[in-house]
Subunit: 627 residues, 2 copies
C-alpha cells in the first residue's frame, strides 16, 4: 500500500515483530544487523538487508541510502552516525530523532530532562563529572571523584542507594545497589571504574512496577496503551499483566497521563515503552523510557485493537494511529528465557521451551518463538501471550505455564530430564484436556467442601457482601451457586451504618479491581445495596433479608425503591440463590461459555421437575406425604 | 521448537498466513510456487523454496525430498503426484491425504461421498458419463449424452437447475445456472463442451450462506470454529460475519455438527473450510469442503484464541489442537478485491486499497495485504478484519470500510480519481476521529428526535418489551436512557397472556440474536418478566408498572418474588429509567468504555445536585416555591 521503505537498525525479536506488522501493510523493510539469519531477517525475504553492526557508522549510512525512513529496534545504536546521515540528507526521516535516542541513551540526561519537564522521577544526583564526554577521560582521575560524590549522595538520599551507569545499561546490567557507604569504591569499580559516567538514585521501594506503551505521531499526537503490571526476576522482565489492577481506581489513568506527558516532550515518532514505579502512597515515579517497541507491550499483538508494532509502523510512516484499546477482558505475557546454556546442556532448548509445550494445551495462549539458534541462560528466546475473559481465567492459564517453567528450571539446575508431557514428543497426540484442567478447576473442586474451608478468590468477578455475619445463613447459598458455576468471587462483611468508610472504599475499588457485579444482602432499613450502587458503576444486586418483623417487606421496599439515576437489581426476599444466578447471567451476557452453562442449569431444572412428574405418576399423588 | 520441516504446495495469501503462524513456532517451511516473490515467499527467507508449478509432478517430488511433511494451500494440485511421492516413501506424511485431496477436487465424487455418509446435501445427479476418467474422451461423443442427462435432471429437480463442472471450479467459475431446458447445449458448451465432467444440483434457494472451519488432528479429533455468515458477490467471498446470528438458537450448533461430522469422515490432518446453505426451513445443506485454510476463516487471526493457520500447523505436526473459541464479542472480514486492472488504470492499486486507508481511522480493524504486485479486477489483494464488543459496533466499523469500497468502485468504473481522504497522502496526518464518527454515532444523533421517528436498531444489545402500548409512557424513559448511552436496543410489544407463543419465541431467540439483556415492563399480575426469564439465560430486568389499584405493589411483588432458580432483576415501580441504567451497567460490566460513560453519568448527577446546593444558598430556601 505504502511505497516508502523503512530501514531498521537491529533485527532481533523486536525487529521481527515489527517486520510482521510492516509486511501486513505491504511496507518494504531493510534490516541492519550481523549475519543473514537474525530473527527479523528470517521472516523478511529481501536482497536489501545489510550484514553489519547497528553501531557501525558506515553500515548505517549504507542502510540509509536504500530507504526513506530509518528507525531502531534498540537504543544502543550510534546516535551520532544517525544524526550525520540526516544532516547529509541521505535519509529524510529518522524516528525517533537521533537527539531523542541520544537523550535516552544517557539515563542521567534522560532523568534530568524529564525532571525538568515536571515528570515525577526518583530523586537523583550526578556522580562525578556531569558532562558525559569527560567521563571518557582517565578512569584513575575520575574514580575518586565518583567515590566522593557517592558519599554525598548517601548523605542526601540515605541507604540503600541505587547507583547506575549512565549508558549501555539494560536488564539490570549497569545497576549497583549500595548498602554500605564503605562499598562506594567497590561499586565504582564494578560499574566500570570511572570509565563510564555514573549517577545515583534515591532508593524507590515500589509496591508494583508499571509500564505504559505510548505511540507518538509525527505531529506529536500521543496515545497510551493500557497501564500494565510488569514483574521482573533478576532485573529481567518475567511477566506482564494487562490491565493493571489496583485498589486505587485512579492509578491506571495517572500512569497513562504521566507516560503520555513524558513522551509528548520527546522528538520524533514511534512507540515508546515507559516504565514506572508505583509507590505505597499511590505516587508514580517514571523509571525510564525505551524509544522503541518494548517487552512490556508484546501482549498488544493478541490483546489490543492495534499492536504496538503496527502502531510503530503507522507512526513513523505518518499514517493515522491505531486504537490502543484492549479487545479482550484480560491478558498476560510470559517471557521464554533460556534456562540453560546450550554448550553446557544439550537439552537446553527443549527445557527452555517446556512452557511453550504446556501452552499448546491451554486455551487462549499464543507462542512467539524468535528463531534464535543459540540458547543461553537468561536469553530471550520467545514469549507466550495469554488472553481471556477476565483476570481469574488468565491467571489460571498463566499458572500452568509457570508451573511448566518451574519444572524446566529445576530440570536444568539438576541436570535431569524433562517429564515426557513437557516435551514435543510427549505433547504429540495428547489431548489438550489432559493438560488443561479447565476453567477455575480449583474453584469447582471446593463445591462440596465444608464452608469452614472457604476463602475468597484472589481475582474475584463477583463480590458478595452483607452487613453482619448474622446474614451469612441467608447469603451462603449465593456462594454455593457461584462455586457451582465456577465464577470466582469474594465474600466479606461491609456494613453501611457501622462501617460507612469501609463501604465507600469497597464500592469505589470494585471496578478497578476487576469485579463485574456486587451482591449485597441487607435487612430492615437495608441501605447497603443502594449506597454501594451510588458509589460504583457496576451492577449491584440487592437481597432483601427477612427480619423479625414485617416479613422482609421493609428490606424489599428499601432496596427496590431506588430514586431515578441509581438502580439496584432486586431479587426475592431471602433469595440469595437468585442473586447469584442473576450475577451468573450478567457474566454470561458477555461470555458465551458461561451463558451456555446457565442454559444447561435451566435444562437440568426442567429435567428435575419432569422427574417429579414421573415419580408422582408412578408412586401416586401422596408420594411427598409418604416419605 | 519443532524440528520437522513442512513443504507447502502453493505460496499465495493462504500460504503467507500459514508461514506467519509456522514462523512463530520456529517451524521451517519450504514453499513450491512459480517465481521467487510469491506472497508467502516474501515473508519466509529461505534457500529451500522451489520455483515451479504446484501441479508439476517433478517439482512436487523435489519439494518432498527436503521436508518431513507436505501440505497444500490450494486443492488444485497434482494429487496423483502427491500419492506417488508418498508411495515411493519420499515423504512420510501428507496432510490432508492425497486421497482426500483427489476426492475434494471432483465435486461430484465429493458430494456422492458426503451424501453416502449421511451428510445433508442438495439433491444432485451425474450429467453424462459418471466415471471422471471417461470424460477425457472425445467431447463430441460425450456432449450429447450430457445434454440428454440435463433434460432428465430438469425433470427430476425442476428449474432453475445448477450445473457444475466436477473439477477446477472455484469462485463461481465452472458453475452454470440453467433457466430454460432449451439452453442445455449452450450450458454444456460453456462449461467445457463435454471435455470436463459435469453434474447437476437441485437449486438451493438459501436464506444465508454459512461456513464453519474445522480442524482435524492426525488421530481424527475434530474441533469446529464458530459458524459464520458469508456473503458473496459474483460468487466471490465479499464479507464474513462471526458469529452467525439467527433467530433459531440451534442453527449455529447444528452447522458446527454437520461440518465436524463431514470432516471426521475425511482422511488426513489439517484445517478444512466447510461451506453450507441455510434454507428457509432451518435445514442446512453442505455445499462444499476446502481441504485447507479458507477465506471464511481469515477472521480467526484476530478474533479467535488460535487462528486457523496456527491450528493447521499444529494439526499436521501432530501437536495438540488449539482452542477455536472467539476471544472477542463479534467480528467481520472484508475482502480487498481489485477494483480495476492495473494495465487499464494506473491508479488501480490505490483505488483497490481505499478501504484499507479508511480502516486506518477505524478502531478494531487490522489490514492484511498480500504483497501482490499485479492488480486485476476481482483479484484477492488483501483483507481487513474487524473486531468489536458486539455486532452493532462491528457493523458500524464495517460500514465505513464498505462505504469507502463503494466510492472506490465508482471511481474505478467512472475512471475518476479518489477523494483525497481515501488516499495514503490524504490519510497522512488526518486525525482518525475525523474519519470515524464513533460508537453508534447515528444512534446518539436520534436522542433529541421526536419519538415518532424512532425504530429498533438492527443489531440490538437490549430488548425493551411490554405487554401493551398502554405501557409505553412508563417504558419510553428506558429508551431515552439507552439512546443517551448509545446502547443499541429494540422496543416491541410482547404480552405474556395475550401472545404466549410470541413471548416464547422472542425469549428463546434473544441470546442467539446477540442481545445482552431484556427489560420487561408489566403491571398487575405482571408475569412477563418472570416468564421471559424462564426461557432465556440472559439477565431479565423487570419494571413493575403501576395499575389503577394497589399502587403497583401487586406488580412489584409479582415480578420480584420469583422462585429459586429463575431470577428477575427488579427495579422500582414505574422506574424504567433505572431499568435502562441497570442494563447499561450490565453491558458496562464487560466493556470498560461503557463503564466509563456510566461513571461520567454518575459524576454529572453529582454535579447537578451540587448546583442545586449552590442555587439554594444563593436564592434562599424557598427558591423552588418561588418559580
Amino acid at each position: 500500500m505504502e511505497q516508502r521503505k523503512i530501514g531498521v537498525l537491529g533485527a532481533g525479536q523486536l525487529g521481527r515483530m515489527f517486520v510482521e506488522a510492516a509486511s501486513r501493510l505491504n511496507v518494504e523493510v531493510h534490516l541492519l544487523d550481523v549475519g543473514t539469519t537474525a530473527p527479523a531477517k528470517q521472516i523478511c525475504s529481501s536482497d536489501h538487508h545489510i550484514d553489519g553492526k547497528f553501531s557501525d557508522a558506515s553500515k548505517i549510512e549504507e542502510l540509509a541510502k536504500g530507504v526513506d525512513i530509518l528507525t531502531v529496534e534498540i537504543e544502543h545504536v550510534d546516535a551520532k552516525a544517525l544524526q550525520t546521515v540526516q544532516d547529509k540528507g541521505i535519509v529524510k526521516h529518522i524516528h525517533p530523532t537521533p537527539k531523542t535516542i541520544a537523550l535516552i541513551q544517557d539515563k542521567y540526561l534522560q532523568k534530568r530532562f524529564l525532571s525538568g519537564k515536571g515528570i515525577p522521577v526518583a530523586d537523583f544526583a550526578s556522580v562525578g563529572p556531569e558532562d558525559a564526554e569527560s567521563s571518557q577521560a582517565g578512569a584513575a582521575k575520575i574514580a575518586p571523584l565518583q567515590v566522593q560524590a557517592i558519599d554525598e549522595a548517601v548523605k542526601q538520599f540515605g541507604l540503600p542507594l541505587m547507583l547506575k551507569s549512565r549508558t549501555q545499561a539494560y536488564d539490570g546490567k549497569g545497576n549497583y545497589v549500595l548498602k554500605n557507604v564503605e562499598d562506594a569504591s567497590k561499586a565504582v569499580e564494578s560499574l566500570g571504574a570511572g570509565s563510564r559516567g555514573l549517577y545515583a538514585e534515591k532508593w524507590a521501594p515500589f509496591v508494583k512496577e508499571v509500564a505504559v506503551m505510548v505511540v507518538r505521531s509525527v505531529s506529536g499526537e500521543v496515545r497510551a496503551y493500557p497501564a500494565v503490571e510488569t514483574y521482573h526476576e533478576n532485573s529481567i522482565c518475567h511477566s506482564v499483566f494487562a490491565p493493571l489492577r489496583h485498589n486505587d481506581p485512579a492509578v491506571a489513568q495517572r500512569a497513562q497521563d504521566v507516560a503520555k506527558k513524558a513522551v509528548a516532550e520527546l522528538e520524533g515518532a514511534g512507540v515508546f515503552g515507559v516504565e514506572l514505579f508505583l509507590m505505597s502512597n499511590g505516587e508514580l515515579l517514571l523509571n525510564e523510557i525505551a524509544p522503541r517497541p518494548h517487552n512490556s507491550g508484546h501482549y498488544t499483538i493478541e490483546a489490543c485493537e492495534t499492536s504496538q508494532y503496527e502502531n510503530h509502523v503507522r507512526a513513523i510512516l505518518d499514517l493515522p494511529l491505531g486504537s490502543t484499546a484492549l479487545k479482550v477482558g484480560s491478558s498476560a505475557m510470559l517471557n521464554i528465557l533460556g534456562v540453560a546454556d546450550l554448550d553446557a546442556d544439550k537439552a537446553a532448548i527443549e527445557k527452555t521451551f517446556a512452557p511453550v509445550v504446556a501452552s499448546l494445551g491451554v486455551p487462549g495462549t499464543t507462542a512467539h518463538l524468535y528463531g534464535k539458534s543459540g540458547c543461553r541462560r537468561g536469553r530471550k528466546m520467545g514469549h507466550i501471550t495469554i488472553v481471556g475473559n477476565n483476570d481469574a481465567q488468565v491467571r489460571e492459564r498463566y499458572q500452568i505455564l509457570v508451573d511448566a517453567l518451574d519444572i524446566a528450571k529445576k530440570a536444568a539446575d539438576e541436570g535431569s530430564s524433562l517429564p515426557k508431557e513437557l516435551t514435543i514428543q510427549g505433547a504429540t497426540n495428547v489431548s489438550p484436556d489432559k493438560l488443561f484442567k479447565g476453567r477455575y478447576a480449583s474453584l469447582q473442586e471446593t463445591v462440596d467442601k465444608p464452608v469452614s474451608s472457604d476463602f475468597s478468590h484472589p481475582h474475584p468477578l463477583i463480590g458478595i457482601i452483607m452487613g453482619s455475619d448474622s446474614d451469612l445463613p441467608v447469603m451462603l447459598p449465593a456462594a454455593q451457586i457461584l462455586k457451582r458455576f465456577a465464577i470466582p468471587f469474594e465474600l466479606t462483611i461491609v456494613s453501611a451504618h457501622r462501617t460507612p468508610d469501609r463501604m465507600q472504599v469497597y464500592a469505589r475499588q470494585t471496578a478497578a479491581r476487576g469485579l463485574r457485579a456486587i451482591i449485597a444482602g441487607a435487612g430492615g432499613a437495608a441501605h447497603l445495596p443502594g449506597m454501594v450502587a451510588a458509589q460504583t458503576a457496576l451492577p449491584v444486586i440487592g437481597v432483601p433479608v427477612k427480619g423479625s418483623t414485617l416479613d422482609g417487606v421493609d428490606s424489599l421496599h428499601s432496596i427496590v425503591q431506588m430514586p431515578r439515576g441509581i438502580p439496584v437489581a432486586t431479587v426475592a426476599i431471602n433469595n440469595s440463590t437468585n442473586a447469584a444466578l442473576l450475577a451468573v447471567r450478567i457474566v454470561g451476557s458477555a461470555d458465551v461459555e458461561v451463558l451456555q452453562r446457565m442454559q444447561e442449569y435451566m435444562d437440568s431444572m426442567e429435567k428435575e421437575v419432569l422427574g417429579k412428574v414421573e415419580k408422582l405418576r408412578e408412586q401416586g399423588w401422596d408420594y411427598v406425604v409418604k416419605k
